[in-house]
Amino acid sequence: MYKHKDLLGIREMSAEEIGFLLDTAGPMKEIIKRQIKKVPTLRGKTVVTLFYENSTRTRGSFELAAKYLSADSINMSGSSSSVAKGESLYDTGRTLQSLGADVIVLRHPMPGAPRLLARSVKAAVINAGDGAHEHPSQALLDMFTVREKKGGLAGLRVVIVGDIMHSRVARSNIWGFTKMGAEVRVCGPSTMIPVGLEETGVQVFHQMDQALDGADVIIMLRIQKERQQQGLFPGLREYSRLYGLNRRRLELAAGDALVLHPGPMNRGVEIAADIADGSQAVIEEQVTNGVAVRMALLYLLTGGGAQ
């Protein structure tokens, strides 16, 4: 069961709730595979995607999820709307509510913004990424993908590699996989590992070869070039040498290890092209599963599955 008004983060979810959401996403994936990818389940419901940051895949994924379920969906961008005129998030949220929004999907550069919005409106709020805080639908689709391939999550060794400090994907996955009984390791340069991360129950590595030993799942994070200007690492060449996933390194992991990437990838930097296109990569399936997971979220947050 999922009985909350909103979906703001994985941290506040129980293992049972996560499992229930993943279970609900299964039948949704069946719908996407049909010849006619549309069911009337959410007819008459309105979904607003409110994005204060650029995003193609997350936004497109939520929009398609809404459309496959027959909800009406509209987009608002931070740059083109009243936000550019200085309207507060509170007022924007109240306006969307008055327009009849049942669900507001929010992407925002600042941590906690979805919490503020959720407190301000009666509509369900889905966090589609808030700064370095959480990106719960990404973690759910990652877990869905791994569970589908591996049959379960408990006992798996999951390694997340890259800029952990600035990554909401890393945080949501840390909460999600640890709650589901997996062992989580993180690996990255010491300037990109935030203080006190061990308290979340993960093991921290700086040597990628050590971190990958026996890994069942490898989640590669995108490295942002602007972090170099902030002085967090000296350059892409050195970064790639230390934290790039290549054939040699992949062989240190378990033979059937999965490679995930939330996208968009920097080919040749954090991930070699032959790995990204290789048989162990599930990066494209992640995208499809993302739609299924988001259909499940929209369905459950508009009252579906309540009985």
Partner: protein, 423 residues
């Protein structure tokens, strides 16, 4: 007007007195015992603590410029309700208190609308821009009690050194807001496991400590009295303790929120717990409590920083730093420090009254005959749950809503006049 306070427990740290006795007031001053007549106001203070008027040496009254947050009228009403008979107000108003006229304006508005005494703090640099010295001597003559660029650190060490040298001839302390901006890095809360969990940018302890160390070195070299505002980390407490041992003229204050709350109080992005310096870790809270107990930390001050509801009802990153403290301070001191045995009642009064008065070089902090009749009465058994709707101040931005406090001010007297009485 004559007044007799009967049967109270007089706490007068300046005289080392702690005894049950009557206190006599005539014409705005504490005086020798006299026979009451029909005009004498007799107050029964049985079971209550009668202390020299409390002084909050770190308050933002927001006037002029930000009257929607607080005014001298509402801020001093909050002070009176909180048991304070005097407050020092920081210069980060609009315009900044960086010249004689601005100091005189505050004094004039206090005469017109103030409920308690107000001691203006002048800016160290023009516009608190950290570029050139403000007219410190002129402001001093007009009544500036001390100098500070509070809210902004004086980044230029050479300028801070010249300000300290200049102040040695004025007999005024420099109050330093210690924050190295390059280390603070735009952080919005304490850097620790909890900032990592929330994905918020952290302010490391070094951001404060690096500048505390710098200013202690400069104070030692120049001989200028240095007061460290709102100390918040274990490392800063060590630096001040060690400097005092060496004889450097350094004092320090801590706020009730820094000795009570940790970074966990940020909770679910509660902007009322966003404050600068940030609420720190458990070890830091323990360290400032030890610093209070062993005398390293001289004063308790609130850093009362009112903001409107709408200003705080935004994304955590966008919310202004600061919280209101005047009306919860005494209750927190009694609940967190006195009832737990960290401070004796006498020590608590010292840090809320005598020491701030001494650091600012102002009258007060004593119940001796001839002293101004600034008196605070505290009921150590009075209990209340914090409800910001009852505040006398204009703003409600407190992280203590719902906290149960025991030991509250019940009567505030300024120059012999009753300014607040708890019902």
């Amino acid at each position: 007007m004559k007044l007799i306070m009967q049967n109270g427990r007089l706490l007068d740290p300046a005289a080392g007195r702690d005894l049950t006795a009557d206190l006599y007031v005539n014409n705005g001053f504490i005086c020798a015992p006299f026979q009451p007549d029909s005009n004498t106001n007799i107050i029964d203070a049985g079971g209550k603590l009668v202390t020299p008027g409390l002084v909050d040496m770190h308050v933002h009254l927001r006037e002029p410029g930000f009257e929607y947050k607080e005014t001298i009228a509402t801020g001093t009403a909050a002070a009176a309700r909180g048991g304070f008979t005097g407050v020092a107000c920081m210069p980060n108003t609009d315009p900044v208190t960086d010249n004689r006229v601005a100091v005189e304006y505050i004094n004039k508005r206090t005469q017109e609308a103030g409920q308690v005494r107000v001691y203006p703090v002048g800016a160290i640099t023009r516009g608190s821009q950290g570029k050139e010295l403000a007219e410190l001597a002129d402001m001093r003559e007009a009544g500036a009690a001390a100098f500070s660029d509070d809210g902004q650190p004086v980044t230029d060490a050479g300028l801070m050194r010249r300000a300290m040298r200049y102040c040695t001839m004025l007999g005024a302390a420099i109050i330093s807001h210690c924050e190295d901006k390059s280390l603070a890095g735009g952080g919005v809360m304490h850097e620790g496991a909890y900032s990592t969990i929330l994905g918020l940018k952290g302010v490391p302890a070094s951001a404060e400590e690096a500048m505390v160390a710098r200013d202690i070195i400069l104070a030692g070299e120049t001989g200028c009295p240095l007061h460290i505002a709102h100390i918040s980390t274990a490392g800063s407490v060590c630096l001040v303790r060690e400097a005092k041992k060496r004889g450097v003229k350094v004092t320090a204050e801590v706020t009730p929120h820094h000795f009570t709350l940790t970074d966990r109080a940020v909770g679910d992005f509660n902007t009322n717990a966003k404050v600068n310096p940030p609420l720190r870790g458990e070890a830091d809270v323990q360290a400032v409590r030890e610093g209070l107990a062993d005398g390293t930390i001289d004063a308790i001050a609130t850093d009362h920083a009112p903001h409107s509801f709408d200003e705080k009802n935004v994304e955590f990153d966008l919310a202004p730093f600061g919280l209101v403290g005047l009306e919860t301070a005494v209750g927190l001191v009694w609940t967190e420090l006195v009832q737990t045995g960290i401070l004796t009642p006498l020590q608590a009064v010292q840090k809320l009254s005598c020491n701030p008065a001494r650091i600012l070089g102002i009258a007060g902090g004593t119940l001796a005959e001839g002293a101004p009749a600034d008196i605070t009465v505290i009921d150590p058994l009075f209990e209340e749950t914090v409800n910001p709707n009852n505040f006398a101040g204009k703003s409600r931005n407190t992280p203590f809503t719902g906290h149960r406090l025991k030991g509250l001010p019940v009567l505030t007297i300024v120059a012999g006049e009753i300014k607040y009485r708890r019902q």
